[in-house]
Amino acid sequence: MSAAALIEVEGVSKAYGGLQALSGCDLSVPAGSISGLIGPNGSGKTTLFNIITGYERANAGEVRFDGRPITNSTPDRVFGLGIGRTFQLTRIFARLTVLENVLVATQRSEGWLRGLLRLAGSASERGRALELLDFVGLRRLADEQAGTLSYGQRKLLELASLLVADPAVLLLDEPAGGVNPTLIKQLAERIRELNEAGKTFLVVEHNMEFVMSLCHYVTVLSQGTTLVSDRPEVVRSDPGVLDAYLGGEGVEDSDAGEQAEPPLAAAQTSPERVRVGADRDRSEPPLAPRPAQLTIEGVVAGYGGGDILRQVSFEVPEGGITCIVGPNGAGKSTLLATIVGLLRPRLGEVRFEGERLNGLSPGEIVGKGISMVPQAHSLFPQMTVQENVELGAFTIRDRALVAERLTAVIELFPIVRERAREKAGSLSGGQQRLVEFARCLMLDPKLIILDEPSMGLDPQTRGAVFETVAVMNRLGRTILLVEQNARAGLKLSTQGIVLETGTVRLVGTGREVLEHPEIAALYLGGSVDDSRTR
């Protein structure tokens, strides 16, 4: 690493009670580089981000920016120095307009009195803000309330709202998480352009292809310490990294790269992938056709600002795994909200086992045997794991039955017993997912709806989560999932559905959809970059 380090982290430690999140962690971000920070869930990546940006205090160690110590500063000072960050769960100012969101950071540490006397956004600042919105492709939405944006759009807005302050370094926490491949590609291009213009980046990301192709240097964290820090090709072939990061099971590596791979080439081209493909094939053979359990017929729905779903019709066969894929903003979450009764369709019908669900309350629909695990973080963080799981069955009065279910659930998810008395908020992302699954099983649902079960998980955990989905299916539950990681989701599934701009574009078996020539153009886009092979 020839260039001078812009951000240096030396021997930083951080403990939360008994949990050692970071212990003597080192990191160096050379000026003008794109640096990657990777590691399994719970390895301390976000904690390190929080310490650098002043959100949390380190117990030991030092953080330097441009040679000056900034350890235990405050977020506003750190930002004033020129370090901007995004958050793992995208954060925007929901009730401000998109443009106002960008304008918030235009001031750099001025007094409140000057702030009061100055209009929010001079002509030049608004011009600059609009330019940045143009840069991320959100200009036409400038006057919309930011809360109406889709997940992917929020990520872009978050980026634009940092850029307006022209920070020297941008810390991005999972920029590609929950974002569709086409958008990931755009994002990578934007990051490269900004980097060429002189900006330094530090990126936390689970999408390995994204990291390996984009970054000049990659640092691997494992259990709170720096394992290795080097060029991507060195890190990639480091056996220690593979062991620590992938739990010794290299095969799972495929998942990380898959959404970024050229869609059809993945399984055939590299020999490594062939093994992966073969391994995956042991998952369920397509089931024989079964009667439809859930029927969606001509559903038109939206949130008042126009229809998001336009005439959606499909069936979910009993006992299968149905996977819905599609670009961000296609209406996947809206569709799920319509099924579980959070949103009332304007037209059309949802039927479950022949019975009309339209007009039933979400509670009544749960009572019919449909249980949903929402997109992320639906556990009550201050309650214990066991309390969370028991809450899943709070509608059941029969205590013996609850106990019986709990035993069955624990058998499937040992973590529920192992961590029973710990607060759910202290679990890692992957562990929380499993507890969420456990909770949803407490009602013994016939149909389980999963919204992006793999979001934000490292490849190893993601593999475990998909495995669990398959197990729940084998135990006789119908599964309907929405998955951004289309390749892994479709491989697992007996039926695949492609949703695009509120309509169903393709229906078929998981494999058919996956291999359909149109899907590449429709959904998967190209590979993040072909420069990987340069």
Partner: protein, 362 residues
């Protein structure tokens, strides 16, 4: 601009939003929305000068309009629910009463000139109160503001110079009955206009944008360089000043100050209720909320004296508004207007519209 932009006189003049072809028309509409109510307010005493009962109601209504509007500058824009603004109201009331009696300020306009001083004293009191209370957030903040309020009420009862439970008499002003109400009315109106101007200025300033960013996500606002502690404290103090002035005027209007009436827990609650009723975070909402609720309350008190019957009507009205317009009159009204317009626009282009509106039931 928030969701309330359409119905908000100040908001349409705020900078964000490209210049649209209908700009001139919108500017006209919004200036009418400001000028017509203002003209009505100025002309009101000329029409009602014979009816002293209504004039007195109007003075109370204006005092509350100023107070709620000022409260909204802090609580509405920052999202921090302050339930202790009676501290500043009471401070203003005691300031005018004590300075007036102790320094023998002649009653009349000289005493009236103390009203701005009441605002300054309330603002000074707000600095330490804000520094303590704003160390906390959300529910804790609410509880701390209530706690601070009771400390002040206790102090007013027990300190040597406040006259204890017997209170303080404000020097008596010998204006004739009709002139009396009219003069107080216009002073109150000036305070209201100044407060609304302040509220409007805050809303379209950088400072206001930072406050609203704090409301939406304080942690992220910090991470984007907003010095949240300062911004919040500044807004807190700014919002205390007009409340102090309103308190001073109120004490002068009534002629006496007691610990229980100047530091009244119902005042704390009234500000929040009137704010929510009209719609917090907007400019016009607090004005409408205070005007409706305070006038109604004073009217019922006059009509049915203090037998509490009015509370039933008052409560029912409140329930109806909360049921039909859960975000307050102005924001919910604006939303109705928008969806009505959207539906009308859609109706002409989309034949399936009108079959029913998609509805969020959560």
């Amino acid at each position: 601009m928030s969701a309330t932009g359409a119905a908000d006189p100040g908001a349409s003049a705020a900078p964000p939003g490209p210049v649209n072809p209908g700009g001139a028309k919108r500017r006209l509409t919004s200036s009418l929305l400001v000028l017509v109510p203002l003209a009505l307010a100025i002309l009101f005493p000329l029409v009602e000068s014979g009816n002293q009962g209504n004039m007195s109601i109007a003075v109370f209504a204006l005092i509350f309009m100023a107070s709620v509007s000022a409260w909204n500058i802090f609580s509405g824009y920052s999202g921090y629910l302050a339930l202790g603004h009676a501290v500043f109201f009471g401070t203003g009331a005691y300031t005018i009463a004590l300075i007036g009696t102790d320094w023998h300020v002649p009653a009349g306009w000289a005493l009236m000139a103390l009203v701005p001083v009441c605002g300054v004293v309330a603002g000074l009191v707000a600095i330490p109160v804000g520094m303590v209370a704003l160390r906390t957030r959300r529910h804790t903040f609410v509880v701390v503001t209530i706690g601070v309020f009771f400390i002040f009420q206790t102090l007013a009862t027990n300190l040597a110079f406040t006259g204890g439970t017997s209170g303080v008499q404000v020097p008596f002003v010998s204006w004739s009955f009709s002139v009396f109400n009219q003069r107080f009315y216009y002073v109150a109106l000036v305070i209201v206009v100044a407060t609304v101007a302040l509220s409007w200025a805050v809303r379209r300033s950088r400072f206001g944008l930072q406050l609203m960013a704090i409301r939406d996500d304080e942690e992220r606002a910090r991470g984007m360089g907003v010095r949240t502690a300062r911004v919040k404290l500044a807004a807190f103090v700014l919002s205390a000043i007009p409340v102090g002035m309103a308190g001073g005027l109120w004490a002068y209007f009534l002629g006496s100050v007691y610990p229980t009436s100047a530091f009244d827990p119902l005042f704390d609650i009234a500000l929040a209720l009137m704010g929510f009723f009209g719609g917090i975070g907007t400019i016009s909402g607090p004005l409408i909320g205070a005007l409706l609720l305070e006038s109604l309350q004073q009217y019922f008190t006059q009509k049915f004296s203090a037998n509490g019957l009015y509370l039933i009507v008052y409560g029912s009205l409140f329930l109806v508004v909360i049921l039909l317009m859960p975000r307050g009159i102005v924001p919910s009204g604006a939303q109705w207007l928008r969806s009505w317009r959207a539906q009308r626009a859609e109706g002409s282009s989309n034949p399936t519209a009108g079959a029913g509106v998609a509805e969020v039931t959560r």
